[in-house]
Symmetry: C2
Subunit: 395 residues, 2 copies
């Protein structure tokens, strides 16, 4: 019954695309369609026909409810609705709306009709609301349906676009952001913890394709860390339907961190470790033409994330911007997003403890001291060795 | 009646303080209390007595409901509850709970009792729940009250701490974060727009005190911009009860931007302008011992916020970290926070348009070209002149 009535998915663009120039909008739409098609295909569904209009994409499909839900998780879409299409005349619209409400059913339902109209017609949006409302009352009034524009239980939406009209009752919230691929590429440092996957996802949401770099701690990390990272990368890859997420791994614990542990004081170990991580990330990013580095840093969450330490750590990689999307987040906010995007369970199962972490790391490293100890390391050679260990992990 | 019953406010710490060391927690608590006292005082209220326990602060006051609401807007607090205190024995707790429910009143209320207990007692938390529940049923059962642990309309919370117990029915969500002053100081670039106040607030939420720097566009900006900035700074200052927010202003339009407009191509004007802004911010921050620069950048929101342009802009100020708390935010998310914190209306009223903004700014500036044009400006002298125009605006 549902399949007979719904034949379309209304796709509403992300909130910020409307203000872009026509050229930019066209480019974003091409990318959005590419992502939509890949996403739907990967879910075993299909789009039959796609109709681009200003601020909307109307998609014909055999499985509108499934496709609407699937597309709500594509970046660049603010919401979707499975809808029934009809001709843009009052009677066709009313008939369609009545069928939808009959299908919905229910006693004593307070309802409202809302209409948006684009094009030239011999009726106004208000006419649509009034006429459709009265026809629904004729049909459903005996079951106790009544109009309530303030707090309806059921909202019947009508979009009239030139010769076409679309009627819907459900609005599925989308993830928003910009179409993936519209904003260039970034390198994201990825561990098996809760934060870095969320940081990566947030820049993806803003349209960036990503290359993930895992600096593997080897024996100094937990046994399951690597598997968790691969699992997380696969989840992020599902969010990137038309652009493959790449996962790179470097044998960091074995090559770099062990040296740091051996030669330098434990107090500044974490700062030295993170400086080396950023140096490696910077080199990988520059070699691959990536435009910045993304970390999961949040002010004060860990000893290495005090303002003082972040300044000393960031000083090691000044060639590219460092983006820290979680810098102002509380942990519960990060956890909420991790749950929504599907990485939380993998991170929560994984033990992220670094065996090299000292019990009393400094919260106020001094650059001069750090630089002095780095002289006892052969930083350049460590970097070369670490970079030589780089492998791409297939997802 | 309420005043007779409630005599305490339960203050629950922010979500991340529990994992800190005892020394750090004590330092955070001192700062939290300092902010709490200043906040309450500025609202014309007062705290009579303060009792610090692990994970909680119990505040005695004459006006518990008002103080609870006031404190929910202090950073470092995850929630508050006005509460009635009593001795930690079953009968006292039950009596207090019954009085609270009688005061609440209502027919057919589904209720639940929840208890947290710390200390040694001759009863368990479960005993409290059962006994208090049965006493409430005795009293309120005739009005249709019944137990519903799944979806209660009314939850009676009991906290037992050693000899004291606290009973409450309301939990007011706090803003979370770390106590202001616990994380060092940052310089925040502030315009009259919607984004930069939210970016500033987010780092304040994470415990940073802030100095705000407004680069005034003068004739090239809108007339009301400066007043709006002062209004916004005052709102942010209310969020910083124990540490005065400082607002600095520099005559940027007159001294710097006019030069850029005159001497350089319009296409790269915004990039040149933002580079000069960052250079000034960096110098001000370093002179004042501030540990980083905060901007309202969000990927792709404006032409100057493409990844390529942000890299070229950031290149001008490599001496300090640049924090961009909104980097992964969609505009509606930023607007929601702006509304919550009270800056939205001021920003929305203000016209932020820069009269120097070209119709076709580049989205892909090249560093070599930018550097070439900067040679035609006397960057050093412009900076000196701009810095000489710095004034502190009293709030």
């Amino acid at each position: 019954m549902r399949a007979l009535l719904y034949d379309t998915v209304i796709v509403r663009h992300g909130p910020e695309t409307g203000v872009k120039s026509a050229v930019t909008r066209a480019r974003y739409d091409r990318l959005l369609l590419k992502n939509m098609e890949a996403k739907v295909r990967s879910a075993g569904l299909s789009l039959e026909k796609v109709d681009r209009r200003f601020g909307r994409i109307y998609v014909k499909t055999d499985t509108p409810s499934e496709v609407a839900r699937c597309l709500s998780r594509v970046f660049g879409i603010s919401s979707t609705s499975p809808a029934a299409s009809c001709r843009a005349d009052l009677d066709s619209i009313a008939e369609t709306a009545v069928k939808l409400t009959e299908k919905r059913g229910g006693q004593d339902v307070r309802f409202a009709v809302r209409c948006r109209r684009v094009g030239s017609h011999n009726f106004t949006s208000m006419d649509v609301c009034r006429y459709v409302g009265s026809r629904i009352l004729d049909s459903m009034g005996p079951m106790g349906w009544r109009v309530d524009l303030e707090e309806p239980d059921c909202t019947i939406g009508v979009e009239v676009r030139d010769q076409d009209a679309f009627v819907y009752t459900e609005v599925i919230k989308g993830v928003g952001g910009f179409p993936l691929g519209s904003q260039g590429s970034l390198l994201c440092l990825l561990s098996s913890g809760i934060d870095s996957p969320v940081a990566s996802w947030l820049v993806m949401k803003r349209g960036c394709t990503v290359t993930l770099l895992h600096l593997d701690l080897g024996d100094l990390g937990s046994e399951d860390a690597f598997d968790s990272v691969v699992g997380i990368a696969r989840v992020l890859n599902e969010w990137s339907p038309a652009f493959e997420v790449r996962l790179l791994a470097i044998s960091f614990g074995e090559i770099v961190l062990k040296e740091v542990v051996e030669k330098c004081p434990s107090k500044i170990r974490c700062v030295l470790c993170k400086r080396m991580m950023l140096r490696i990330a910077e080199r990988v990013a520059i070699r691959r033409g990536l435009l910045g580095i993304v970390t999961g840093d949040s002010i004060g969450e860990q000893a290495s994330q005090t303002l003082g330490n972040m300044a000393v750590i960031g000083e090691a990689a000044k060639g590219l911007p460092i983006y820290r999307p979680l810098i102002g987040f509380d942990k519960p906010e990060t956890e909420r997003i991790a749950r929504e995007i599907g990485t939380y369970d993998i991170s929560a199962r994984s033990s992220v403890a670094c065996k090299a972490a000292p019990s009393k790391p400094t919260v106020r490293a001094r650059l001069e001291e750090v630089a002095k100890w780095e002289k006892s390391l052969d930083v350049y050679q460590l970097l070369e060795k670490a970079l030589a260990s780089l492998v791409e992990v297939s997802l």
